[in-house]
């Protein structure tokens, strides 16, 4: 039953919905520019497949699984399946209509799934990814979203702070990506052939759209057009810039590099955006600054380790989102001090432990279930194209198209 819509809050969440939507095309560009020319369309294809699969499952059962009445704190029941009469459901406490909340959350589910294209890059079958991501969204994303954000979700009850999805989105997808990478195996020629990024301006343009959208992602998570939405945006932007600056310094002092690269700067921005996500509305600007300063010290070495390792988690969702997300979640426990949250610096050390608990649950569940799922699909419908097709490139072999004439 509709009680009282606050059109201002509703307007901001409608806007934020659109902003989160554009993140997925932005991500497609970010990822697409980092890979070889012969696979760029296939990368766009994976991202749009994620949008398609998630939107449809969200309508069918996903929203209800994530935000329905809690079954033991683990998952929602199917009372909202099919979204019938959703426009009659009552609005959030901040006066945002249910319809708006449903589609705002749908966009989160979409971009999360799209990030998981990382370990599938340049090698996966289109149809198999479509199947994989539908199931993954259903059995991995929906429950974790429920744990953290739904009334009665067990991590929510445990007091886990996750302003905009550090745990639900980033930790989750990062560890899922690692699991997929283990199962799917590395690309042909990995560490032998040069796998040069084919279009770095496209990476930067994608980053621009991601940054833009992220303001809605984090700012919209206030679910209101209030001072905390503004604070979240200040913090988001500040952490992104600070982490980018640190990354520049790290590359500059790194003996193997010596020069700040555009891809590096972009990765720094991304690390900052990821890390501030759980904290955006809970910390003072100086807290955001600290998070920006610290996150690269976790992400940078893991990224370098991954590159040297045999793990072809091709677009580093694990390093950037997984490790960045863990760092952000923990640091939220450290720096949270406003908007009803109390972290270490505000006197409550237990929040750090709670955050760690949240991270362990999400990472463990995501990693484990995804590992099994990917393994089963590998054995049944196969995940990869044939070696020959991979060599020719997925654009031609999967989509029968050439990206650029």
């Amino acid at each position: 039953m509709l009680l009282q819509v606050d059109t201002g809050n509703a307007s901001w969440i409608l806007t934020a919905t659109c902003l989160v939507l554009i993140m997925t095309p932005g991500l497609a560009m970010f990822y697409g520019g980092l890979i070889r020319k012969k696979n760029v369309l296939a990368m766009f294809g994976l991202c749009v497949a994620a949008m398609i699969a998630v939107s449809i499952q969200w309508f069918l059962v996903g929203y209800s699984m994530a935000f329905g009445n809690s079954i033991g704190g683990f998952v929602g029941d199917l009372s909202y399946a099919g979204l019938n009469d959703v426009f009659l459901m009552h609005e959030t406490a901040t006066g945002v209509p249910a319809t708006v909340f449903v589609v705002f959350q749908c966009m989160f589910a979409m971009i999360t799934a799209a990030i998981l294209a990382s370990p599938f890059a340049e090698r996966s079958k289109f149809g198999s990814f479509l199947v994989f991501i539908s199931i993954w969204s259903l059995i991995v994303y929906n429950p974790i979203a429920h744990w953290v954000w739904a009334t009665g979700g067990f991590l929510s009850q445990a007091g886990v702070l996750d302003f905009a999805g550090g745990t639900v989105v980033h930790v989750n997808v990062g560890f899922s990506a690692a699991a997929v990478a283990l199962v799917i195996g590395k690309r042909q020629g990995f560490k032998k052939d040069p796998m040069e990024p084919h279009n770095i301006p496209m990476v930067a343009m994608g980053l621009g759209l991601l940054w833009f959208g992220w303001l809605g992602f984090n700012g919209g998570s206030a679910l209101a057009a209030n001072e905390f939405a503004g604070l979240a945006i200040i913090n988001t932007n500040l952490a992104a810039c600070t982490a980018a600056l640190v990354w520049i310094v790290l590359e500059y002092v790194d003996k193997g590099k010596k020069k700040p690269s555009m891809i590096g700067i972009s990765t720094g921005v991304l690390a900052g955006l990821v890390a501030i996500t759980p904290a955006a509305g809970y910390v003072q600007p100086w807290g955001a600054f600290m998070i920006g300063l610290l996150v690269d010290f976790a992400v940078y070495p893991v990224l370098k380790w991954r590159t040297r390792s045999n793990l072809d988690e091709s677009l580093d969702a694990f390093a950037c989102h997984g490790i960045g997300g863990v760092t952000g979640a923990i640091l939220t426990g450290v720096f949270a001090s406003v908007n009803g949250a109390t972290g270490l610096v505000a006197g409550d050390a237990t929040q750090v432990a709670i955050q760690a608990f949240g991270v362990v649950c999400a990472a463990g569940f995501a990693f484990g279930v995804t590992l099994v799922l990917a393994f089963l699909l590998k054995k049944t419908i196969k995940l990869r194209v044939k070696p020959d097709e991979e060599y020719v490139g997925c654009d031609v072999s999967v989509h029968n198209e050439i990206a650029y004439v």
Partner: protein, 113 residues
């Protein structure tokens, strides 16, 4: 007539053009190529580390010239394309041409080079 094929560093194109033209090579055709020789690949950065580009950007110039200007053109190219950066300056190959036709007029082996 000879076809002089020249492979140079891209940044020398303008100077080589000027020098070769002065030396008597009026027409020329330019192609962006990638090459490999004594010069090792260059290391560029990728996300987590660096990767080696096996083939390096070069520019290839093809000039059909009359026999008598060949030495002058070669000398001009060597002079204008040389740098002090070690291997990678490129090569010149001279090939025989049996026949030349200017499409516009249909003339053969004319003074049209």
């Amino acid at each position: 007539m000879k076809l002089i094929i020249v492979i140079i560093r891209p940044e020398r194109l303008h100077d080589v053009k000027v020098a070769a033209t002065e030396a008597g090579a009026k027409g020329m055709t330019v192609i962006e190529v990638k090459g490999r020789g004594d010069q090792k690949g260059i290391k560029l950065q990728s996300r987590g580390g660096s990767y080696e580009v096996e083939f390096i950007q070069k520019v290839k110039i093809e000039m059909a010239v009359n026999d008598e200007v060949v030495p002058a053109v070669i000398e001009a190219v060597v002079r204008s394309a040389r740098t002090e950066r070690g291997p990678g300056d490129g090569k010149i190959f001279v090939l025989p041409i049996e026949e030349v036709v200017r499409i516009r007029t249909g003339q053969k082996n004319c003074d049209c080079l």
